[in-house]
Amino acid sequence: MEPIRLIKSKTVVLPYSDIDTDQIIPARFLTTTTKAGLGQHAFSNWRYLADASTNPEFILNQDSARGCKILVAGNNFGCGSSREHAPWALLDFGFKAVISTEIADIFRSNSLKNGLLPVVIDKENHAWLMANPGTELTIDLQNSTLTLANGKAVSFKIEGFARYCLLNGVDELGFIMNQLDTIQQYEQARA
């Protein structure tokens, strides 16, 4: 995993709460056996019309969304299934961070393991971001802050170990593998 330090981008706003993983990546795309190419199916039911043409009304199909790396969404983003295809699809689409007031547990865990930064902020600043799509943001992971174009800094919470892993590109599997002796002792003690 590539280390993450700074993410600078305009935002794109999905003004809905409880966006579930079935919206992020519908189940019909889960028969894949790889991680590749899921970005083309991200938000498929909203991005495409019944005749498979692009829905011009949907924000991610508009010019203003092009190149945006930061997604701002309503409360409880990523609820529902454990499919890791959801962060895979968002990353493949080009997102590097998701901002909400609450992010569902499994989605958050899956995101951290793939280098998609889940950012949980307070309601007041979130409401401002929701009302001001396209604003320029800088997310500084080292200091756990996001900074608006006018210089206003907002802090966000992220679990310390997850931040350490993201900043240093540390793979959790390697960390657990380093404990294999302890794991073996635990197994022997219980046997």
Partner: protein
Amino acid sequence: MNTPKTLFEKVWERHEVVPETADTPAVLYIDLHLVHEVTSPQAFSLLREQGLKVRRTDRTLATMDHSTPTDPAEIAGRVPIKVKSAAEQIKQLEKNCAEFNVELLNLHSTQRGIVHVVGPELGATQPGKTIVCGDSHTATHGAFGALAFGIGTTEVGHVLATQCLLQRRPKTLAITVDGKLGKGVTAKDLILAIIGKIGVAGGTGQVIEYRGSAIEALSMDGRMTVCNMSIEAGARAGMIAPDETTFAYLKGRPKAPQGAQWDKAVQEWKQLCSDPGAKFDREVHINGNELVPMITYGTHPGMVMPINGQVPDHSGDSVFMKSLAYMGLQPNETLLGKPIQVVFIGSCTNARLSDLELAAQVMKGRKVAPGVRALVVPGSQQIKREAEALELDKIFTDAGAEWRESGCSMCIGMNGDTVASGHYAVSTSNRNFEGRQGAGARTLLASPATAAASAIRGCVADPREFINQ
């Protein structure tokens, strides 16, 4: 004196290989890893890339359920599997399990079924275990007093390689349901009412313990229904303390302890309850006497109301109105009498024998209304056989319903069992998200009794009209 502990704390602490610190999460040992075809292929690829083995094949059990056909002709190979990519995914799981020496209940296994049905059915699910699966409905197994939760594919890889996960300790939420559930009110109605009360994010970061007389009175099937939908309240897991009902269910099952080991296990399992005075981070109380059959009207399980209620009016809320627009419903509308096109009785929430018995009780001697497609999909091949021994299949097919092979089927629609755009489906599954049962499908979540009653009437119907006790 020892500090009183919750059920969750007892199970958690017994599985800490390395306790958490301010800087690092706990290394948590996993007793049972359930694997299925959808969330495992990339994890096996990781093992292959890194030259790793499955550390404990004896603690790993695979089945196939999401992508599998439910059409007997497809299962038997008389016709090709409809969804080509699904067929390939099934093959990939067979290949991975053979290569990594993992026990697999394959397409033709008499023990195959939905992962959260077969784990308990085989007795692999046991009190006090830590159980994970790359599936959010893993919470189901908490009905036995296990700590069971869904994980992503990267974590599937971690468990395959090390039998451990890095985890921060979640908070605890006690939900006490006192009283007695009334006529036609099931475990499904209970959990829908709970989600309606605490909200779809009400359990985020928490493990729920369900307790109280109404919970204790539930069968294991009912307890599994309740714990199954913990994730729909955002919770990490749901748990119920094991008791005589639990032990009676598990006794004699193939993977349960046998003989002297059984007696020893039961003695240990009896310790698995929250001590008097144990502190939860939060508590919620519900009066079971007041509960009625429930049905969802929106696009998440928290948008739920009594079967005879009216859709709430939040006209000023654009997200709420977007949801109602998708559902083709209006504020203040009554759902009773609303014509429907599909009924689905199945899924890891409600496809166990008692669910099918309840549906059959409603359908017996009656006919599915013209224009309604009713699909009954047992949770496992064993349940299918048990139901057939009771001739439930005959009740369903005589009524005009389809009787299928086991699998996730129309809950997630990956195998081609889908609801057409714009159609209403009364479904015993767990998610009414937009497009969940097919692009444009409109899902109304309810109990097997409500689903069966609605199939007969051809519209949303109150199950209490059909149930005598």
